[in-house]
Amino acid sequence: MELTGEQAQRWILCFQEKIEKNKAYLSDLDQAIGDGDHGSNMYRGVQAVKEKLNELEDPTTEEVLKTTAMALISKVGGASGPLYGSAFMQMAKTAKETTELPELIQAGLEGIKQRGKAELKDKTMVDAWAPVAEALTNGTFSNDTIDQAVEDTKPLQAKKGRASYVGERSIGALDPGAVSSGYLFTALVEEVLK
């Protein structure tokens, strides 16, 4: 399934709404195992994204993705900035060749892994992106894929990011970056896939 520019724009704007609505919750999750700023970081980022996207008229998929990347890189202020920024940058690059959704999400995952050097089960957003990318590729993707992936970060001990400094105390908590990534994919379901 191909992602059009118009769909991409609606997808990201829906993500912005979800971040806005869950800003406090994301920061609370981050407070438990990190520094309590994931919600406000992401909110700052997606507000800038919204402004920039609203300036675009009939954008291509690549333009939407690149605009999103640039705004997140310059405005988020935490690790999620370079990470989501690199994800959208890789998606934008890939969109020059193909706008097939599985390929785009796979490229986003690669961008995050290159930037943050995290592997699967390090309790990061990679643990949300990887199962979604795989399920989209295999054609087994459903809402359940997202919920399960996010929930599965709970028992893990963090190996990367702020939460890696609290040792075993990170076990039992959801990873905030995985939760926000879950919103991104839920937005994709609501605006594009359904």
Binding site: G77, A79, G81, P82, R115, R162
Partner: protein
């Protein structure tokens, strides 16, 4: 001198303080710094880190950082820059101090790299 040092911290006062500390022992070294977000909050700013790199008079730059996003942002700036940027995963202050003291003493890049190696902690 063609070797310089960039400091990237999550907090503006930490970056300023580190600069003050380093400059005392390395008055002739090109040292630039970036701290905090664009709004002066705790975090990293692409714009500030890019500016610290661009303000460098040196062509080869040793970069030291405190935590996660400072490094990732340095990586992104480095990918966009023509300068020779070496992001060092060393203990923040010890690493930066070592690099500055050696650059001030006219040590060569290879010798500095050797001295920084045992300070790697991340």
């Amino acid at each position: 001198m063609s070797l310089g040092v960039v400091i990237a911290s999550h907090v503006d006062k930490i970056a300023e303080g580190a600069y003050q500390l380093l400059k005392e022992s390395a008055p002739d070294v090109s040292i630039t710094y970036a701290g905090g977000t664009d709004d002066g909050e705790v975090g990293s700013s692409y714009e500030k880190i890019e500016a610290a790199v661009n303000q460098q008079t040196a062509e080869t730059i040793y970069c030291f950082y405190d935590l996660g996003s400072a490094k990732m942002t340095l990586d992104m700036v480095s990918e966009m820059s023509d300068k020779n940027i070496k992001i060092v995963d060393a203990a923040f202050i010890e690493g930066a101090y070592t690099a500055c003291a050696l650059i001030q003493g006219d040590y060569k890049e290879e010798e500095i790299d050797v001295q920084l190696k045992p300070l790697q902690v991340k």
